[in-house]
Assembly symmetry: C2
Homo-oligomer: 154 residues x 2
């Protein structure tokens, strides 16, 4: 049986989980309504747009997004059907598979980015002072690598 949270930890956790869950829902709803993209689509497009030659091995992409291999396979198949990405064998070794950003995928990201940025500012970033920006960067900058290190995905 784990130790109960202290009062301060409990207040912090409840504020965080309820509000950030609501924020994710809001971001997803606004993105979908304006562009038809899900947040998962958006994150895949961002990751590929920043990769050399706009391509990443499926394993790298799964690690970046902290997706299980099966969830990423499903996600990429859905995006390929909509023409946003394509899947191809790695040119280096022919064994692995890569996801590659298409011109249509880059265009969809470019069209969605200003709207998404406005939502991010209005709902979250514009409310934060410098000390809060620094605190959040520290906390969540440690969280991502920790989750990846204990990932259940292969």
């Amino acid at each position: 049986m784990p130790e109960p949270l202290t009062d301060a930890q409990q207040v912090c956790w409840r504020a965080y989980i309820e509000s950030s869950w609501a924020l994710h829902t809001r971001l997803e709803e606004e993105l979908r309504a304006a562009t038809g993209l899900s947040m998962a689509d958006y994150h895949v497009l961002v990751a590929l747009s920043e990769a050399p030659d706009h391509r990443l091995r499926m394993g790298q992409l799964a690690g970046r997004l902290v997706f299980s291999p099966s969830r990423l396979t499903y996600q990429i198949a859905s995006m390929a059907k909509r023409g946003l990405v394509r899947k191809q064998s790695c040119p280096q070794d022919g064994r692995g598979q890569e996801a590659v950003l298409t011109d249509a995928g880059l265009a969809a990201l470019t069209a969605a980015a200003p709207l998404h940025l406005a939502t991010v500012r209005d709902t979250f970033i514009d409310d934060l002072d410098d000390a809060e920006i620094a605190a959040l960067t520290g906390v969540f900058g440690r969280l991502g690598p920790r989750l990846r290190a204990t990932s259940h995905s292969a």
Copy 2:
């Protein structure tokens, strides 16, 4: 066109959205694997367990969870099918509908809580110092009410 984020804001936002998205996925996966409950189920059970007489009007519950009315209707119907809650007319006025926690729902929450607490500690809370707890409580304590105030739900 919104102003681009500063470098510090951009680093903060990327760390937050990628890591917290991954955290929510992890919490959902661990909860489902161990108990069959989704995070949405869990949040509804917590909200009802803390309400007077273990019951809340649908509108209050939607506000608390920042769910649209249609999403909450679907969520409660799914939970009623599994015996975790029931829906009934408000005794006060007979017009509105309430969600009521069942004994089975309370038992499911009681069984799930220690496991969920362990995951919350391991993945997030135990990593935070007092200053970070205070900063997160401030940021996310403001975020929830702000999202509710601009909710698209009725």
